[in-house]
Amino acid sequence: MDKLLLMWASAEKEAAGGSGGMTEYIVHHLHHAQIKVGEGWFWTINIDSVIFKFMMIAVFLALVLGVARRATSGVPGKLQCFIEMVVEVVDGLVKDTFHGKSKLIAPLALTIFMLTFLMNFLDMIPVDALPAAAHASGINYLRVVPTADLNTTVGMALCVFLLIQYMGIKHKGVGGFFSEFLTAPFGPKIAPANLLLRIIEEAVRPVSLSLRLFGNMYAGELIFILIAVMTLGASLSSGATWALGSMQFIAGFIWTAFHVLVITLQAFIFMMLTIVYLSMAAEHH
């Protein structure tokens, strides 16, 4: 689909005489910086997503592990207070939802919330700033927000999916876990129905987790791009530029303010659903 759009874009570009245009601008912005590591569609790496995600991981680990290393039970510093606040909120949520004992769920939830928030927050950087800088240094394509890349969200959702299965096996045993496929929730008499329902249930979780986050972030990025399009190819001498420019400023401001809520909420939802799924997996039906 990307290739199609790109072909269309280049056709458009040619038609416009190489001066670019709205469509090319948008398509350009939605194209990843990619590295091909082998033959076939799979063997490509969206290097921009990977780099920005690793940068956010570095920030997150520096915060959490740095605070953990210097953590004191005496009077905490401001940074420790902040991290402790987040930790306590996450801990409270996990304890409210999950009534077993697990060393895994709370740190996982903390990681999901803070890391997703940090990655989403990259959307707050003006949409053209980093791609323009990259362009100046010879990189043609750059997408900044890793969570607006389906690969990132599906990767995280699949991790959560595997952990759900792990929790199920750990808490019910291998036999209990697999017999539940056939016996719950309607009883063993209609085993095929149980199996079908279970498969759908399990498959829907990673799909909904990943698509929800991806969709929100992708749409958010797209709207930033569309707002940026307002003054595309404008010149300072034109009166329309000034009118559109002020509209762009207002629209950008409103959308940024709104998007701050969206990125926080999406990070929270991803975390909360993970907690709920993992606790459900640990409970007997």
Partner: protein, 158 residues
């Protein structure tokens, strides 16, 4: 929007991050929080204990003050009684001493008066004898008339 190798990298990176946090981050931070909560709880308990100790100490203090006050009252009462009794005794002693001395003085006065009277009687008898001698111009034999004279003297002294 194609899915590619990025998915695997992102998934593994995410998992590794969560694992690092679980291993080296969460336990330390959570441990610090729990330790601080315990510290605060202990501090509050100690404060409560201190308050209770203060209350019992002040109750004890009141008790001691009350005891001391009642003891002091008892001592004062006894002292007053003692004072009164000493005063009473001194008064009665003084009165007794006074009346004794008065009696002694009276007795002395009486003795003195008696003696004076006796002397006076003797003198009068002598004077009477001398007067009688003058009257009869002759010596009266004192020895011969001694009985008579003594009678006379005692009669006068009476």
């Amino acid at each position: 929007m194609n899915i590619n190798l990025t998915l695997v990298i992102q998934g593994l990176a995410f998992f590794a991050t969560a694992w690092l946090v679980m291993k080296f981050g969460w336990p330390l931070i959570d441990g610090a929080i729990v330790a601080r909560q315990k510290k605060i709880a202990d501090g509050l308990a100690a404060a409560e204990e201190g308050k209770r100790a203060l209350a019992s100490a002040s109750a004890k203090q009141d008790e001691v003050i009350r005891e001391a006050r009642s003891e002091a009252g008892g001592i004062r009462d006894r002292a007053e009684k003692e004072y009164a009794s000493i005063l009473e005794k001194a008064k009665s002693d003084a009165i007794a001493e006074g009346s004794r001395q008065k009696a002694v003085a009276v007795a002395e006065i009486e003795t003195e008066a008696h003696r004076a009277r006796e002397q006076l009687s003797h003198k009068v008898a002598e004077l009477a004898v001398k007067g009688a001698e003058r009257l009869i111009r002759k010596e009266i034999d004192a020895k011969a008339h001694k009985d008579l004279l003594d009678d006379l003297i005692s009669e006068i002294a009476r």
